[in-house]
């Protein structure tokens, strides 16, 4: 009886250690997130003021505010969503409602996956080659929005597809039985049910696009502009690019550090708001939209 008992003890001890370890690591990762957030909030909160949010940068980006970068990011997000949202939603409708299971559908899904896996700097290269040079838009809000729109496309397609998939087939059949055509059914029955989940995807895409830097490096971003952009053919400043330049390549990196913390805080707050909004929407309607 000695042996099995000690074996049992060892088993229990081993389990306790490993459970403790994996619990510790999990909480450690969460702690890391809070550490990053806490650090940025602590360093950046002192900089945030009405002036910081609404004034132009001055004194070689060491003073003033980030207003043009905020405006630029808003333009880019709006522009990219104007493109990605309709195209992405229709593509999602095609994949889930029209495409027949088979090689074509598999191919379309594979391409969406591949597009989602393309590194963001490749979108930057591509946007520069196609929109900036080939189409002659130059570095402009138009070129940047289209580039970011392409990047957001697979996110919108996938969430739309998942949202439509969660709509029970009985709704469609009921509509068909009442004489509704396929498109009419999608428009009047399927889309309204799936709408909250589709919107969750849209919000997540907004979050992703507002933080992307590499695709806008060569397609739109300006180091410093003394005035706000007046048309879609103008260059613009943008929050993530602004954070990048003032933290690495400014003329007075040390002096502009507080500005960098402030910009990072604004970016993080935007992302947090977006993610929390998506989570609330998702919880409120009680359906899960998966991202990966």
């Amino acid at each position: 009886m000695e042996f099995p008992e000690s074996n049992e003890k060892r088993k229990k001890l081993g389990q306790a250690i490993m459970f403790g370890l994996s619990r510790g690591i999990s909480y450690g990762i969460v702690a890391l997130l809070f550490l990053i957030l806490f650090f940025i909030v602590k360093q950046g909160i002192g900089v945030i003021s009405w002036e910081f949010l609404t004034a132009m940068p001055t004194d070689g980006m060491t003073k003033g505010g980030i207003w043009p970068a905020i405006v630029g990011t808003v333009y880019l997000v709006l522009g990219s969503m104007l493109f990605a949202f309709p195209v992405g939603v229709m593509a999602g409708i095609y994949v889930n409602e029209y495409a027949v299971a088979g090689p074509v559908k598999r191919f379309v899904k594979m391409m969406t996956n591949n597009l989602a896996g393309v590194p963001s700097i490749i979108f930057g290269l591509f946007g520069m080659a196609l929109f900036v040079n080939q189409m002659g838009f130059g570095a402009s809000i138009l070129a940047g929005s289209l580039t970011l729109g392409l990047l957001a496309l697979p996110i919108v397609i996938r969430t739309t597809e998942e949202a439509l998939k969660s709509v029970d087939d009985t709704f469609r059949q009921a509509s068909y039985a009442l004489g509704g055509s396929k498109l009419y059914t999608i428009r009047k029955v399927v889309l309204p049910i799936a709408l909250p989940n589709i919107l969750t995807g849209l919000i997540l895409a907004v979050g992703r696009v507002s933080g992307e830097t590499a695709p806008i490096l060569f397609t739109v971003a300006a180091y410093f502009l003394p005035k706000l952009p007046s048309s879609i053919m103008d260059q613009a400043m943008a929050l993530p690019y602004h954070l990048y330049v003032i933290s690495t390549s400014g003329t007075q990196i040390e002096a502009s550090r507080p500005m960098a913390y402030g910009t990072a805080l604004v970016l993080v707050v935007i992302v947090l708001i977006v993610n929390i909004a998506a989570a609330l929407l998702r919880n409120y309607f009680g359906k899960k939209v998966k991202m990966n």
């Binding site: 088993k11 081993g14 389990q15 490993m18 459970f19 370890l21 994996s22 619990r23 999990s26 450690g28 890391l32 997130l33 990053i36 195209v87 229709m90 593509a91 409708i93 029209y98 191919f107 379309v108 594979m110 996956n113 597009l115 896996g117 393309v118 590194p119 963001s120 700097i121 490749i122 930057g124 290269l125 591509f126 520069m128 080659a129 080939q134 392409l150 496309l153 697979p154 055509s181 396929k182 498109l183 009419y184 997540l204 933080g211 992307e212 830097t213 590499a214 490096l217 060569f218 993530p240 690019y241 954070l243 990048y244 933290s247 970016l267 993080v268 992302v271 977006v274 993610n275 990966n292």
Partner: protein
């Protein structure tokens, strides 16, 4: 009703077109990337619009870009090292001519340049000259243009030096960038995989529902933080930490990059492997428990092996993300193309190189094309990775 009969087919074909949009975009990316990238191969590494000449009597008739760079860096000073006669190499270009001749002698638009080169060249049989092609093409008698090896795919992949702006001949070897990228990415996964796997096991098997409902969204939030914020965090926190811990002259190292990329890869690894762990059939777990195995033994011997292909997919996906990551790598790795790259030295990754240099590369020039060739390479690597992931995850279903 009649209107709808017309509008419906229009809408439906629009939907169909949009359905193919992602495939179309991938195709466009390939076309535009490779159009620029491929024209890079077969071009000459010598600065555009310039020709290199040697004295007509010189037996050396062709050189490589590496040899030219060594000559101009004064690492090679004798023709003997290049397979020629034992005589010193005299480099000369417009700068030297400007000292030897007056502006009048050279002509306002350098129209007398060939004559001046001839008279200068005659006295210097060991010269290696470097002049604009437009004024000298076919007009210089004493010298012959030297043949310089064209850039090939093989040389691009195997050359160990990256000096894209060095004059007169650029060296564009992808080796230090590729090895730097792989070093940073693999080390990031070595850090992230055990941590991520432990967290995934905890979430999937150990944590109760209440804890999981709190942890999961928080971990997903990590994925939402923009990469430039991670880069900034790395720059102001991780970089100084690495520098003081290892007592280094600079903190911007491969190690700092790996740590930042590891943090960024965690959510991907956790989400994908947790999903895989959850697919383990309940019956299998219960059978193990019924045989007297502890819960941990069941996890180790049943759940993890069952999910192994999903975990592999998570690791590959994580590596893919790390390889393509641009801003964080650009901000914390120090960006110097050292060969061979090591963990405690600055390294330069492929995406960071594109991001840092494309803005300064003249449009359509050799450097510009070289960066697109880098983009092609990166695209091929990530394509292989997504195919691998698809392959590995497909195995799980069978």
């Amino acid at each position: 009703m009649r209107i709808r009969r017309f509008t419906e087919p229009v809408f439906e074909s629009l939907i169909k077109i949009c359905g193919y949009s992602s495939g179309f975009v991938v195709l466009l990316i390939i076309v535009f990337l490779f159009k620029e990238g491929i024209s890079f191969f077969g071009s000459s590494p010598v600065e555009e619009g310039f020709t290199m000449y040697v004295h007509a009597s010189n037996p050396v008739k062709d050189l490589s870009a590496a040899q030219i760079k060594d000559v101009f860096d004064q690492k090679i000073t004798n023709w003997k090292a290049l397979g020629g006669a034992d005589q010193p190499i005299e480099r000369f270009s417009l700068d030297e001519l400007g000292e030897a001749f007056t502006e009048e002698q050279l002509g306002k638009d350098f129209e007398f340049l060939p004559k001046c080169i001839d008279s200068y060249m005659d006295s210097l049989p060991g010269s290696l000259a470097f002049f604009p092609s437009a004024q000298t093409d076919g007009k210089v008698k004493s010298a012959v243009p030297i043949k310089i090896d064209k850039i090939t795919v093989g040389k691009f992949l195997s050359d160990t030096e990256w000096f894209p702006t060095s004059r007169p001949a650029a060296r564009m070897g992808v080796m230090p960038l590729l090895l730097g990228t792989l070093l940073v990415s693999f080390f990031a996964i070595i850090i992230a995989l055990p941590l991520g796997l432990a967290a995934a096991v905890y979430l999937a098997e150990i944590a109760d529902e209440r804890v999981r409902k709190f942890l999961k969204p928080v971990i997903e939030l990590l994925a939402g933080i923009p990469s430039v914020v991670y880069g900034f965090f790395g720059l102001v926190v991780i970089v100084p930490l690495v520098q003081s811990t290892f007592n280094l002259p600079v903190g911007e190292t491969a190690l700092a990059g790996s740590i930042v990329l590891a943090i960024m890869a965690l959510p991907t690894i956790i989400t994908v492997s947790e999903d895989a762990l959850r697919t383990t059939p309940r019956a299998m777990k219960e059978a193990s428990l019924a045989l007297g195995a502890s819960q941990w033994q069941t996890i180790r011997k049943v759940v993890v092996p069952y999910a192994s292909s999903g975990i592999t997919a998570a690791a590959i996906l994580g590596i893919g993300r790390a390889i393509g990551e641009t801003m964080a790598a650009l901000m914390v790795t120090g960006n110097s193309a050292i060969m061979p790259p090591t963990l405690l030295q600055p390294v330069r990754t492929i995406p960071a190189t594109i991001a840092a240099e494309l803005g300064e590369a003249p449009f359509g020039g050799l450097h510009f094309q070289a960066l697109f060739a880098l983009g092609c390479l990166l695209f091929i690597i990530t394509l292989i990775i997504s195919l691998l992931v698809e392959r590995v995850s497909a195995k799980r279903i069978n």
